[in-house]
Amino acid sequence: MNGILKKEKARFPQKAGSPQKVISHQKAMSSQKTLGKDEGRSLKERGGERRRRRWAKLWLRIRRNWVLYLFILPAFLYFLIFAYVPMYGIQIAFKDFVATKGFVDSPWADPIWKHFKTFFSSVYFMDVFKNTIGLSLYYILASFPVPIILALMVNEVKNTKFKKLVQNFTYMPYFISTVVLVGMVQLFLAKTGLFNQIGALFGAEPKLFLQKDGLFNDIYVWSGVWQVSGYSAVIYIAALTGVSPELHEAAIMDGATKLQRIRHVNLPAIMPTIVTMLIMSVGGIMNLSFEKVLLMQTDSNLMVSEVISTYVYKLGIQKAQFSLSSAVGLFNNLINVTLLIIVNKISAKISDTSLW
């Protein structure tokens, strides 16, 4: 398995090695610049001269490309205002926010972790936390393998027309909006809906799926799998087209069946992609589709459907408890970042694949 990975890497050396190469090249350049020529002058003079020359060179490069700064300005301003100002505003999680005073002038909370304490000791905390983790894990476990299997299967289809057909129809649901998806789910699962009609064909009694709390997780997860599997498979299918046919030929010569080739050639070949996707999804474990959960919530299923993000929304936007809900949001965000870093580290150790 590792052998194939290494071979693949050897075939694309520029992809794997280029960042380091660029850096080491730059280092070599700069050290070359610092050597030579200006011996004989005083140290201070030499240093000043060198520095001046370097600044002049840098200034020339900046001036020559001044338009590029204009190009990046809108994006820079956007991130500054809509990403960094709110990040700066996270401090209100440690403050008692007063709307008229803003982020900076609101007084510090006493004690400073007051809002975190309120959240952790509230009656909702365990439920909301458990719901979030449970739903996320269920979703990842269900939605992660399906696109991989789908991609491996699609890849084996020889008839290009059928292959295209399957691909086109499986990623169509991805373009449906969340509101429409939830609307469809409700129509299909209603008492007279499609599911009960199909059930009736087999003699089943009509069921009120939507009124069953225990089904909330299943409905959320499997409607999600239905919607995104085809889309996620596209990435794996693309990775599979990069598998070298020689490997397959060699395996066929050795008498490997299709299933064996899928397991021993195709699967190892897309392993880096799989790992990358896994890191991403584990890093986003607390980022459930807020919209969808909220749309699927009813008063009767709140016990199982309240997750951290919907809780933040209700506390913050609807009840205007800005500081407390910021603290809850920050808690959520920190878990995400920590998980991402841990998973990334583990995968860098085990499989040489990492995000940074």
């Binding site: 490069r61 900046i62 020559r64 590029l68 700064y69 190009f71 990046i72 809108p74 994006a75 956007y78 991130f79 205002i81 809509f82 990403a83 709110p86 990040m87 700066y88 505003g89 996270i90 299967m153 289809v157 059928f162 129809f169 499986t170 990623y171 649901p173 373009f175 449906i176 509101v179 429409v180 609307g183 409700q186 129509l187 209603a190 007279t192 009609q197 009736a200 939507l210 596209v234 990435i235 693309a238 990775a239 395996a251 050795d254 490997a256 069946t257 299709k258 299933l259 807020f290 749309l295 009813t298 993000s309 933040v312 929304y313 913050g316 936007i317 809900s325 910021s326 949001g329 970042v337």
Partner: protein, 305 residues
């Protein structure tokens, strides 16, 4: 590798059997994905009674367009539709204007400060202020309950900048920039007259990504738009599609005494199917283009995280 593998004989382990099973399963998958969409279409033009009693399966029955007529007669839905069209158009134009030049600048190796901007933008992918601080910022800027928020918020995202940057890096040779500079062609002209025309694929991909996001977007409007007049289609749709569902089911359980109301509810059901069709049609019309460029876009992005 060969030593470990046994030669498998017998039909059920043969490649032939594999192919057959594979195609059967994929056909089922295909049906699972496509049938619900087809059902929505036929249900939207069929008699709702026949739909509810399970008589509509493959083709529409007792065709009527009352659902659509009611839909187009509803001013709030039409207004939502118009708003969404405006937000999608304006938002996508702004998205392209912000994203593509930034991505191009970041793709240039001779751009001083490239690393700084890269890191600054990357951080936003993994860490954010969260809902409430963002909400307060938007409010402080006077964008709360202001239609412009629908266009401005989400003007760009690092994911899309990375996809475009990767495309520029792998498709625009460095020599081109060198040559342009020697010929006295400035960066602005270089970008507009040379880079963009040869990068039409990524422009199309980005436009499609952004347009679909705006069209389907629901979150921003739910948080920031209060005024009925500015609500986009998805919000209006939620009110029609989801809000009344619960009552409908209660009433259906209630029996026949509520005949009149039930009649109304039946019509409402048809409106729901019709609404789903109408709301999804623009995206589905883009679909042929989407599939042409979309795979390319996803693939380009996958090259580097």
């Amino acid at each position: 590798m060969s030593a470990g593998l046994k030669r498998n004989k017998g039909f059920f382990r043969s490649d032939k059997a594999f192919d057959i099973v594979n195609i059967v399963i994929l056909t089922v998958v295909l049906l699972i994905c496509a049938y619900p969409l087809w059902f929505i279409i036929i249900a939207s033009v069929s008699n709702p009674d026949l739909v509810n009693t399970g008589k509509v399966w493959l083709w529409p029955k007792d065709v009527s367009f009352t659902g659509y007529k009611n839909l187009f007669g509803d001013p709030s839905i039409m207004r939502g539709y118009r708003n969404t069209l405006l937000y999608t158009f304006g938002g996508t134009v702004l998205n392209l204007f912000v994203t593509l030049p930034a991505a191009y600048a970041l793709s240039r190796k001779d751009f001083v400060g490239r690393k700084f901007f890269n890191i600054m933008f990357l951080v936003t992918m993994f860490f954010s202020g969260g809902l409430i601080p963002t909400f307060l910022t938007v409010k402080a800027l006077g964008l709360y309950n202001n239609p412009w928020v629908m266009v401005i918020l989400g003007a760009t995202s690092m994911t899309n900048i990375i996809i475009s940057r990767t495309f520029f890096q792998s498709n625009i040779p460095d020599e081109l920039q060198e040559a342009a500079r020697i010929d006295g062609c400035g960066n602005f002209r270089l970008f507009c007259q040379i880079v963009l025309p040869i990068s039409s694929a990524i422009v199309a991909v980005m436009a499609l990504f952004f347009a679909v996001t705006h069209w389907n977007g629901y979150f921003t409007a739910m948080i920031y738009i209060r005024n009925e007049e500015w609500k986009p289609l998805q919000i209006v749709m939620r009110e029609v599609l989801l809000q009344s569902q619960f009552n409908a089911e209660m009433l259906q359980q209630g029996g026949d005494t509520l005949g009149m109301l039930q009649e109304e509810l039946r019509a409402a059901e048809q409106i729901r199917y019709a609404l789903i069709v109408v709301a999804s049609i623009p995206v589905m019309l883009l679909y042929p283009f989407i599939q042409k460029y979309f795979v390319k876009g996803v693939t380009v992005g996958a090259v580097k995280g």
